[in-house]
């Protein structure tokens, strides 16, 4: 089922949590709301779920007005960061809860409930835990039970609030892939909130990058990573080197469209988009090698130019060919540069947007 968000705004006292948010989520899509903490992503998710009411704007489910529909009537599955399982119920009863509280007329029979719950537990591969209690499960198991519980009522929309935030890296990776598969099998619309860019880029069909109550960019994972719409998106998605025109003249001027000579510009270059050369080439920047760290499949090189640190990532092969030594003089050449005009303090420090 499609979700449409129209001009949603929300304030908490003087704090603007959401500022005129517009978003369309077509049926069957898995969307990630990505942003730093306090950017309003969880508030938006809770407004979609009906657990928070917006100050202004509308939420539409499949084209129907749902802004004032109570959470229990929205038919939305919600998965919480800290699972929110019912502690005094067994795993089976947790999953069965949504079915047992249905009005008598539409409630499935006891046998049907048993069947449905067992199917769901099989789906999340935890049918052997049916009689345990939540306190006896590991974090990853609890989150899968929470997901099975949310799916039991056959929701039209699945909402997940930092679903893997409390889990360790290995379990998180596994569950991510598993969520993707599950979403594809269930044919529902899913929205999940995360502050982990890797998670968003790996799992989602579309990524909505949010910052300070506004949407910065909406796009496919590839789009938002390789073609960021704003300096914020650039900095939030992966590492980036920032070059100011007053320090790194030629570099920041590369790709600058017009603009007076006194206008300042900032160039953004990803660490893996910088080439290191042993001799000067046209448009290159002189730098000194400070440190060389091999990290897994990559080699991270820190270089200094005019007392500013530049980070470069090389493949192991390239690093072997270059044979960099600390203190060595090299020349840097960017493969891809993105220039944004006048670096506003607001973008970098998150101060007032004036």
């Amino acid at each position: 089922m499609s979700i449409e968000i129209r001009a949603i705004s929300k304030r908490f006292g003087g704090f603007v949590a959401l500022d005129d948010i517009n978003l369309q989520i077509p049926t069957g899509e898995l969307v990630a709301l990505l942003g730093p903490s306090g950017c309003g992503k969880t508030t938006l998710l809770r407004i979609i779920a009906g657990m928070e009411s917006a100050d202004a704007g509308q939420v539409l489910f499949a084209g129907e007005e749902a802004t004032h529909v109570h959470a229990r009537d929205r038919n939305v599955g919600f998965v919480f960061q800290h699972y929110a399982l019912f502690r005094h119920m067994s795993v089976f009863e947790n999953v069965a809860f949504g079915l047992r509280v249905k009005p008598r007329k539409v409630r499935p029979s006891a046998a049907e409930i048993r069947q449905r719950v067992n199917d769901l537990l099989k789906l999340v591969q935890l049918d052997w835990l049916a009689d345990r209690y939540p306190s006896q499960l590991s974090g990853g198991q609890r989150q899968r039970i929470a997901l099975a519980r949310a799916l039991a009522v056959e929701p039209r929309v699945l909402l997940l609030d930092e679903p893997f935030g409390a889990l360790d890296t290995r379990v998180r990776k596994e569950l991510r892939r598993w969520l993707r598969r599950l979403h594809d099998e269930m044919h529902i619309s899913s929205v999940f909130v995360t502050h982990d860019q890797e998670e968003a880029l790996e799992v989602a069909d579309r990524v909505v990058v949010m910052n300070r109550g506004r949407i910065e960019q909406i796009g496919s994972p590839d789009e938002v990573y390789s073609n960021p719409a704003s300096p914020f998106v650039y900095q939030f998605l992966g590492n980036v080197n920032v070059f100011h025109s007053r320090v790194h003249g030629e570099w920041a001027d590369v790709g600058r469209a017009g603009g007076g000579p006194e206008g300042e510009a900032t160039a953004y270059v990803r660490p893996h988009d910088i080439e290191i050369e042993h001799r000067p080439v046209v448009g290159s920047l002189e730098a000194t090698v400070q440190e060389v760290h091999p990290i897994g499949p990559l080699v991270r090189v820190e270089l200094a130019h005019a007392s500013e640190l530049i980070e470069v990532e090389l493949t192991r092969e390239r690093a072997t060919v270059l044979a960099l030594a600390e203190g060595q003089q090299v020349w840097l050449k960017p493969r891809q540069v993105r220039v944004f005009a006048a670096p506003s303090a607001a973008m970098e420090e998150g101060g007032s947007g004036i």
Partner: protein, 286 residues
């Protein structure tokens, strides 16, 4: 405690602290109570039975335990509401109300009794209106229930507060998103989580009520067979230098209280252990 068991524990001082506990409990509780039992054993079984099952004694048991049960039940219900509101909502004057709950703990019980008796008497602020409705509170068994409710409330509220604080609001939201109504959320999700603590609070309020003397005698009227509580009967026996008779009644109270507490604790243990696992699983995630 042998050296080997104490060495196998991570936390030190088990032997010492257990020893302290036993000595302390023996001196404060076991010794006086055994003294009581010893004194009562001067009576032959027939004499004991004659005193314990006297008409006045039986009536006083009924009043004491009946009024205590009623008061504790009322407190369990309203105490739950008070605790819920104090934990879940914020409103002006919340801290004042929170402090107010503790007053029955601190107030001398005689003061409470006199105040309640004045309020509920036929010419008192509340009693005046109740009397015109045909309800007499002061100097009747109903007055005893009122006094016991007053002194028992903090026990329920203070026991429930930490437990309610422990329930994440998310659990309620989860129940709502699964389609549960407010009533279903309360009866299926919240109440089972609160229940063991509610039983504890009920038990504490009940025990306190059974032993209460000071506040009750001012409001009860103390008519033999109607509104006379067992503690008062014990005192009047003592005043007549009938120490043995007093101890016999005390023994009866002790035994009934003990059995009641045992049953309630058993209930509470059952409720709490229903959803307690054997500890975390092996942590495997597959």
């Amino acid at each position: 405690m042998s050296a080997s068991t104490s060495r196998s524990r991570v936390l030190p001082g088990f032997g010492l602290s257990l020893g302290c506990t036993l000595v302390y409990l023996s001196l404060l509780i076991l010794l006086p109570l055994s003294g009581l039992a010893f004194k009562a054993s001067h009576l032959s079984l027939a004499e004991f039975w004659a005193i314990a099952s006297g008409e006045r004694a039986l009536a006083s048991y009924r009043v004491t335990f009946g009024a205590s049960l009623l008061a504790a039940t009322a407190n369990a219900f309203f105490g739950l509401i008070v605790a819920w509101i104090l934990v879940r909502y914020s409103f002006p004057g919340k801290r004042a109300i929170d402090a107010l709950v503790d007053l029955p703990f601190a107030l001398p019980t005689a003061v409470a009794g006199i105040t309640l008796a004045t309020l509920y008497a036929g010419n008192g602020w509340i009693g005046r209106h109740l009397e015109s409705l045909g309800v007499k509170v002061a100097f009747t068994p109903l007055g005893i229930v009122v006094a016991l409710t007053f002194i028992g409330l903090p026990f329920v509220v203070r026991t429930l507060q930490p437990v309610i604080e422990d329930i994440e609001p998310e659990v309620e939201e989860a129940a709502a998103s699964l389609g549960a109504s407010r009533l279903q959320t309360f009866s299926r999700v919240l109440l089972p989580a609160i229940f063991p603590a509610l039983v504890t609070g009920f038990t504490l309020a009940l025990s306190r009520s059974i032993g209460e003397y000071g506040s009750v005698i001012f409001i009860a009227g103390n008519l033999p067979l109607i509104s006379e509580i067992t503690p008062l009967l014990i005192i009047s026996k003592l005043e007549q230098y009938d120490v043995v008779g007093a101890t016999a009644l005390a023994m009866v109270m002790l035994m009934i209280s003990f059995v009641m507490l045992l049953v309630v604790n058993g209930l509470q243990w059952w409720a709490a252990s229903r959803h307690r696992g054997d500890g975390p699983s092996d942590g495997e995630v597959r």
